[in-house]
């Protein structure tokens, strides 16, 4: 919200991707892509299938290490790190094909989101008393807040493997939110949903952005959703950045129209 009221034309950059190239063997998934994500905005990443969107998310998330280019997060150049480190730096994400812990209850799934915030030593944990117990209770309160926020109180104890698809997506979002991320990455949060579920999810994404001030980067195929939600849009095609701007600018861009209509590439 604050970002909108600021008169300054230079908003704070939370994450910047500079000249990133990622290849798997001979296949270049991302070619010299640069863009940035401003603090507090909803940044959409769109493009046809195979454009390199998910690869981009995996780079931001630290799952993939680009062969070339740099990534700046909170003004610091990121070194090559282990994938789990991104989470403790404040990056959370959801996955295209829901990656929940299927055998665990909704509550336990969301509690795993607090992993990076909990640090009482293993000795107390093994005994399950003392500081570890107090810590558990404290984090449980935060998790309950998230559960209330996403309106999933009724499925708290259900093993997530038994939940319908739409609710699983919501639990995955809850797990990501429980980490109180600064940057939330959503990989097709509305894929496979019906209209009503999409509207619910859109509302949650907006609420997260407005109430918690969380910066969001999302991949989405539904153009109506992208136009409604996002502040700015990056368009990728065959691993290259072909457009970057507000939803209106992007949808008027000839290259974008060509990419979506499938004009032959030279």
């Amino acid at each position: 919200m604050a970002a909108l009221e600021q008169p300054t034309p230079q908003p704070e950059v939370l994450l910047a991707v500079e000249d990133v190239t990622l290849s798997f063997g001979g296949v270049q998934a991302i070619k010299n892509v640069s863009f940035d994500i401003h603090k507090g905005e909803i940044r959409a990443i769109i493009g046809p299938n195979g454009a390199g969107k998910t690869s981009m998310l995996n780079v931001i998330n630290g799952f993939y290490h680009p062969q070339q280019g740099t990534i700046w997060f909170k003004g610091v150049e990121r070194s090559e790190m282990r994938p789990y480190v991104a989470a403790s730096q404040g990056v959370s994400r959801t996955f295209q094909n829901i990656a929940l812990f299927r055998g665990m209850s909704t509550l336990d799934n969301i509690m795993t989101g607090r992993v990076t915030k909990m640090n009482k030593n293993i000795f107390w944990q093994a005994l399950h008393l003392g500081p570890a117990r107090a810590e558990e209770i404290e984090h449980r309160a935060k998790v309950e807040e998230v559960i209330d926020f996403l309106e999933i109180q009724h499925i708290r104890r259900t093993p997530v493997g038994r939940l319908p698809y739409g609710l699983q997506k919501r639990v995955e979002l809850a797990r990501a939110l429980a980490a109180e991320p600064e940057l939330l990455l959503l990989d097709e949060p509305m894929a496979g949903m019906n209209l009503e579920e999409k509207e619910d999810m859109s509302r949650f994404v907006l609420d997260v952005n407005e109430q918690f001030g969380t910066t969001i980067a999302l991949i989405e195929h539904d153009m109506a959703v992208v136009m409604d939600l996002s502040t700015r849009v990056v368009v990728l095609d065959h691993g290259e950045l072909i457009a970057d701007g507000t939803p209106d600018e992007v949808s008027a861009n000839q290259k974008v129209i060509d990419a979506y209509l499938g004009v032959a590439h030279d």
Partner: protein, 318 residues
């Protein structure tokens, strides 16, 4: 037909139950106790398999190594039992760390068969290391675990039950309860279950797979130590101990590779099954069927329920 089946399948049980109920009870109890020992080994397998997808062939050797180290510390340095146990636990934890750092960290994202081969190598390495460090003669575990028949049960209902087996059963029960609480109630336990479910998602919430795998190997080492102590007390610490790992295989096939309760129930079924088979069918088949009964049972299970009693049914999208 009836004439052929009755004396073989029904009569021995009917007669034993009516004529010698105590003997039947003893058979079942000794089966349960043997089953507990199998479960202890199978448990180590399940823990590592669930968390990392590694089929740890070295689990039996791990039990041998733990027992060797324990007796080695006690015999060579004259350490009291409690101190030797603490030291051995520390060594098993250190070993877990080394195994992860030196072996499996270098094999991330490799095929399961390669990971399996690595554990095979690990098994031979540990066997050799145990031999060099503590020698290959049969050792006695001298922790003061009571031996012989329980007088109380012998005088009361007139049952012959080994004291050691009672101790083993109680210890196993305590161990399993403690592990269950650890997995269900603590953060590390939750992280462990998360890793078992989905590696990628676990990393995305900030769980370090490497740390969790070290914890898993450490817990498996602890379970191996308990198994090693019990088996070692029963039949001496000798290198054939590593072969009990083979008995854990039918237990796993019965219970399912991914289920802790499965390892326990599977162990009990195998234990009781083979004792009853030996006693009641053994004579008809020429004896010693205890040695292969478990494998036959596992084979039958593979035909009808390949995922085991409690295992997850593997459905793959084609």
């Amino acid at each position: 037909m009836y004439d052929a089946v009755y004396p073989f399948l029904i009569e021995p049980f009917a007669k034993m139950w009516t004529d010698m109920p105590l003997f039947f009870a003893e058979t079942v109890i000794s089966g349960v106790m043997a089953g507990v020992m199998y479960s202890l080994v199978a448990l180590g397998f399940v823990l590592i398999y669930k968390a990392s997808g590694i089929f740890n062939f070295a689990q039996g050797v791990l039990a041998l190594f733990a027992a060797l180290t324990l007796t080695g510390i006690m015999d060579n340095f004259g350490a009291p039992g409690w101190l030797a146990i603490i030291l051995t636990v520390a060594i098993m934890f250190g070993l877990a760390w080394l195994i992860q750092k030196l072996v499996f960290n270098h094999l991330i994202n490799q095929e399961p068969i390669i990971l399996f081969m690595a554990t095979l190598g690990l098994a031979y390495f540990l066997e050799g290391a145990g031999d060099i460090m503590w020698g290959s003669d049969v050792k006695v575990v001298n922790l003061g675990i009571p031996q012989g028949a329980s007088q109380w049960l012998l005088d009361g209902p007139g049952l012959y039950v080994e004291k050691l087996e009672i101790v083993a059963a109680v210890t196993a029960a305590i161990l399993v309860t403690a592990l269950t609480i650890f997995f269900q109630k603590t953060r590390i336990g939750r992280a462990l279950r998360a890793v078992a479910d989905d590696h990628q998602a676990a990393m995305s919430v900030g769980i370090s797979l490497e740390k969790i795998w070290i914890v898993v190997w450490a817990v498996a080492g602890l379970v191996a130590l308990v198994a090693g102590i019990m088996w070692g007390t029963k039949s001496g610490v000798q290198f054939s101990l590593s072969l009990i790992a083979l008995k854990a295989l039918p237990v796993l096939i019965l219970g399912g590779f991914t289920s802790v309760p499965g390892a326990i129930v599977g162990g009990l079924i195998i234990g009781v099954g083979e004792k009853i088979a030996e006693v009641y069918w053994g004579p008809a088949l020429g004896g010693a069927i205890e040695n292969w009964f478990a494998y036959m049972l596992a084979l039958a299970f593979l035909l009808f329920r390949p995922q085991g009693l409690f295992g997850e049914k593997i459905i793959e999208r084609v």
